[in-house]
């Protein structure tokens, strides 16, 4: 055992020993692994972020309907938009000093007082928030603590308002039960693909980083073999070296993570953000990373030195490199394909019959096939190339001599690319599956203002407020009422002036007293068509159903809706004179505001104008619709995956750069000799580009192949038609190519340094 430790220690000593060179190498290794570790730690924190968030959400949930003798809190939720950002708030009214205080607040705000989230406070204080300030005449008496928020960028407020109705929903306390979010099979598969496609490349890069400066290390270990270190011991010594790199990487990663964590609240990636205090890696994952990275470092380095172990004369005699063998390199590919085929249609329906473990395993295998296959592909492809310009020849000959490093460098990018291609295709397919109806078209020329719990005077008053606002062309008041022609056969009716109705449908002519019927077709599912003279039950709200007021449908003209858009009101359109004959007053008042889109911030001006109505008004663009939970989940998953892709791409770029720098460093002397013997720098630079570009193109082919295969297999699992997203693949490939080019350009300064006069020095 002591022997073991002394061997490991010797490895550490070797990794540290070589003066500046060793330190640079260690720093590069640490940086390469550290970047990966930081990303892994961040992803390991996602579960904590989500669970903390869910807990806060549960703690924030009001509890109603409990018998209580004490003070209660009445609450009504509200939201508004400001320059495209959604602000949500709760208007509250406490019945006394002991009314329950919402989490994150120091007390229940009184009438005209409000608590705002820090982000909202910042927005309101900033010059950009000047317009918003008008909307909130309330006095800000404090900010909402973290416990009352989801994310640091939440724009939320609690405002005290004496007009909040004392309805049945008296809140006796806050803090409900956690309710679990269940994802449907397609979405859960999407998450699986995403997590694997994004995290696996990180592991690949960590693995590659542990193999930096392999040639140097082989030389060193061969020298050790010569003085009589057995192959087992050399493996242990190499393991010691690798472990040092891994631990330095872990430390660097931890520091990066901890430092980055300080700024996490200032960062928003694809609309996602998190609290610093939530960003804690979950313990099992953190332990896994701390164990996995060193183990992987040791395993890859031991695998990498197979040849050195056999050949203690690595220094003295360069045995002809062994030609790579194909068969075992195909194993992961075959296993991956086989495993995924067995899961076909498993995640198709609403219930998944498949095993997530098997699917994830299959994806990992397929992605693993890329770095395993690439060295063989590069070796075979490059082996056939001949001739060309000197820079090309230099690059090709170099690749022929030692294609392993180059293949590894681009291998990581290829994994990112293949994962991205699969993810993109699955996402596109999931999108078409989840968003079964096309996203509604939003008409930015019209605003709809809904008024709840309001009197006709209030509607009038609101209309006047709006009409005076700059940029508003017309304001029309509309009401609606529901009719039931037999059980379950509901039809809506909209009441408004001719002018107002003309915004809803194409009317041939209109006079007060006319009735129209907009035929939306049977697709909307309103049952049978109405007929004139038919008796229907009218109700403006469910509570009045006892009365069952009856009404006879007047004669009407059938008209068409405005254009192709489905966002028009179907059913009856009634002029005020007709509506007066109805047994109940039509309710659900809303205002249709036609605005001048060229007027800047007109929407926010209108929202400001109706601010006095506080919680009663909801302003939205015509056609804006709420999304279903499934769509909302899909959208947030897409956001998460986008954020993850950006981070993985950045990591890929950074790792590539580290590898490219290391390559130049390792070949400093031959490069300096070439430069000294008159090879122009430009040619050397181009040869460097070819050295990256040729393996990259091969990697691209492999990545597109494997990525498409993976996509096809996953689509089969989802029971979706196999459609590959070629434009998406082109964009991804282009981005990867761009990254390789950028990395090459960024490594040119180091090439210049290497080929300078100092490069020729032997130490």
């Amino acid at each position: 055992m002591r022997q073991w430790f002394s061997d490991l220690a010797l490895g550490v000593r070797l990794a540290l020993g070589g003066g500046r060179t060793s330190w640079v190498r260690l720093a590069l290794t640490g940086a390469g692994i550290g970047l990966g570790v930081a990303v892994l730690l961040t992803s390991a924190s996602v579960t904590t972020v989500l669970s903390e968030r869910a807990e806060r959400q549960a703690a924030n949930a009001p509890v109603t309907g409990e018998q209580t003798s004490g003070d209660v809190l009445y609450l009504t939720s509200w939201f508004t938009d400001y320059r495209g950002e959604s602000i949500s708030g709760r208007f509250v009214k406490g019945t006394g000093p002991d009314a329950p205080v919402p989490p994150g607040l120091s007390r229940v705000p009184g009438d005209g007082e409000m608590f705002v989230s820090p982000a909202l406070a910042r927005l309101m204080e900033s010059p950009e928030g000047a317009l918003l300030l008008e909307r909130f005449p309330q006095q800000v008496i404090g900010t909402i603590d973290e416990v009352g928020l989801n994310t640091p960028h939440d724009l939320v407020f609690y405002a005290g308002d004496a007009t909040v109705p004392e309805d049945a929903n008296a809140i006796s306390r806050f803090g409900g039960q956690l309710h679990e979010n269940t994802l449907d099979p397609v979405l859960s598969l999407l998450v699986m693909v995403g997590v694997v496609a994004l995290l696996f490349p990180v592991l690949v890069f960590v693995g590659i980083s542990t193999r930096l400066a392999g040639a140097e290390r082989d030389r060193r270990l061969a020298a050790l073999r010569l003085v009589g270190a057995g192959s087992q011991r050399v493996r242990r010594i190499a393991a010691g070296e690798a472990l040092l790199g891994a631990f330095v990487g872990l430390a660097v990663g931890a520091v990066l993570f901890l430092v980055g964590r300080q700024f996490v609240e200032d960062i928003q990636v694809a609309g996602l953000s998190a609290f610093k205090s939530d960003l804690i890696p979950s313990l099992p994952f953190a332990v896994m990373i701390a164990v996995l990275v060193p183990v992987m470092a040791v395993v890859t380095s031991v695998i990498a030195m197979r040849r050195t172990v056999i050949e203690p004369l690595g220094v003295v005699r360069r045995a002809k490199p062994v030609r790579r063998v194909l068969w075992w390199r195909l194993v992961p590919l075959v296993i991956g394909v086989g495993v995924l085929i067995t899961q076909a249609n498993a995640f198709g329906g609403t219930e998944s019959q498949g095993s997530p473990t098997i699917v994830i395993g299959g994806i990992v295998m397929l992605l693993l096939a890329i770095p395993v296959l690439l060295p063989w592909v590069v070796e075979r492809a490059v082996g056939r190339m001949r001739g060309g310009a000197p820079s090309w020849q230099l690059a090709i000959r170099r690749l022929q001599l030692e294609s392993g490093t180059a293949a590894r460098v681009v291998g990581g990018v290829a994994v990112v690319l293949a994962g991205g291609i699969a993810l993109q295709s699955v996402m596109a397919s999931a999108q078409s599956e989840v968003m079964d109806s096309p996203a509604p078209e939003v008409d930015r020329g019209r605003l709809t203002i809904h008024l709840s719990d309001s009197t006709p005077e209030m509607v009038e008053q609101t209309a006047n407020l709006v009409a005076r606002t700059v940029g508003v062309n017309q304001v029309h008041s509309l009401r609606s009422v529901g009719m039931e022609a037999g059980a379950g056969n509901y039809h809506p009716a909209t009441v408004g002036t001719c002018e107002a109705l003309m915004t809803q449908a194409v009317l041939p002519s209109c006079q007060d007293g006319d009735s129209f019927y907009v035929d939306a077709g049977s697709s909307l599912g309103y049952g049978t068509q109405l007929e004139a003279g038919q008796r229907v039950t009218v109700s403006d709200s469910d509570e009045d159903r006892q009365n069952d007021p009856q009404w006879t449908i007047p004669p009407f003209t059938v008209v068409k809706g405005p254009g192709e858009s489905i966002n028009f009101r179907s059913g009856l359109l009634l002029t005020p004179a007709v509506a007066r004959a109805m047994p109940v007053e039509p309710g659900n008042p809303s205002l249709l505001v036609l605005i001048d889109q060229n007027e800047p911030d007109v929407g926010d001006h209108v929202r400001n104008a109706v601010a006095p109505m506080t919680w009663r008004v909801f302003v939205s663009y015509f056609g804006e619709a709420d999304v279903t939970q499934r769509v909302a989940q899909f959208q947030s998953i897409r956001q998460g995956l986008l954020a993850g892709s950006l981070i993985t791409l950045l990591l890929a770029g950074a790792s590539l750069l580290v590898l490219a720098l290391e390559q130049v460093r390792e070949r400093r002397r031959p490069l300096a000799v070439l430069a000294a013997s008159g090879v122009p720098r430009g040619a050397l630079g181009r040869s460097l580009l070819w050295q990256n570009a040729v393996p990259f193109l091969l990697a691209l082919v492999v990545a597109v192949g494997v990525g498409s295969a993976l996509a096809a297999l996953l689509l089969r699992i989802m029971s979706q038609p196999i459609v590959l997203d070629w434009p998406g693949i082109a964009v991804l490939s282009g981005a990867a190519a761009f990254m390789v080019a950028v990395v090459t350009v960024l490594s040119l300064p180091s090439l210049r340094r290497a080929t300078g006069a100092l490069g020729l020095r032997s130490e």
């Binding site: 000593r13 020993g17 070589g18 003066g19 003085v227 009589g228």
Partner: protein, 243 residues
């Protein structure tokens, strides 16, 4: 790793002047790809003698040395050290043999660039589980003996070629080996430095009764030997000393 049934015993050196071969290679054949490097070469080394292996470059000198040292395994033929066949030993045993009974001095590249000169010399001892203090004090003695005590704390890259080779000689001899394999040990040195290194190497080897297998193409270096073996086209010819 030490097997009690180890078929050789590093402790009992053969007396000087013994006519029996310490190391003997018979009819070695070795090819790298299609070209044969050794084609029936052989060699006998007696305890304490300095044998020069001469011949033009590409004749197979170095390959013969590597086979003798158990670094390469010949395709055909036998190498026996103290009547034990090297090819019959496992890698672990051969490694131990290199550590305890053999020493190596090459033209360059045998020192570990990351370690200081002192640590390099102490390395074989430490691989053999000698305590660090002990190993380094013995290493320092050898550095003094080879007149390079002043570079002890420098890394090999920071020393001159002559100093580096002396450090290499010190490392080759620090374990008290029975055979030192030297492959063009002065190849990268000027004649004055080269002669000094040879003097130190041969003297130290004689004092410790270590045999030296000296591969060189330089007659003046070969003149430090007791006898020479000529390798040509993979075949060797042993010349008995002319008196």
């Amino acid at each position: 790793m030490t097997d009690p049934a180890t078929p050789y015993d590093p402790g009992s050196a053969q007396g000087p002047g013994s006519a029996q071969a310490l190391l003997e290679a018979v009819d070695l054949h070795k090819s790298f790809g299609p070209t044969p490097a050794l084609d029936g070469a052989g060699l006998r080394v007696r305890a304490g003698e300095v044998v020069a292996v001469m011949g033009p470059s590409g004749s197979g000198k170095s390959t013969l040395l590597h086979c003798l040292a158990g670094i390469l395994t010949p395709d055909k033929g036998t190498v026996r050290y103290r009547d034990v066949e090297l090819s019959a030993m496992g890698d672990g045993l051969r490694s131990e043999l290199r550590r305890t009974d053999f020493g190596f001095v090459f033209q360059f590249g045998q020192l570990v660039p990351e370690l200081s000169c002192l640590e390099n010399v102490a390395l074989p001892l430490r691989l053999g589980s000698v305590k660090r203090k002990e190993a380094e004090s013995r290493a320092r003695e050898w550095l003094e003996r080879l007149e390079v005590a002043d570079v002890a704390d420098k890394r090999p890259g920071e020393t001159s070629g002559g100093q580096g080779q002396r450090v290499a000689v010190a490392r080759a001899l620090v374990t008290g080996p029975r055979v030192v394999f030297a492959d063009e040990p002065t190849g990268a040195l000027d004649s004055l430095n080269g002669e000094r290194v040879m003097q130190l190497l041969v003297n130290a080897a004689k004092e410790t009764n270590a045999a030296v297998v000296l591969v060189t193409h330089e007659p003046r270096v070969a003149a430090y030997s007791d006898r020479e073996v000529v390798v040509r086209d993979g075949k060797s010819r042993e010349m008995e000393p002319v008196t």
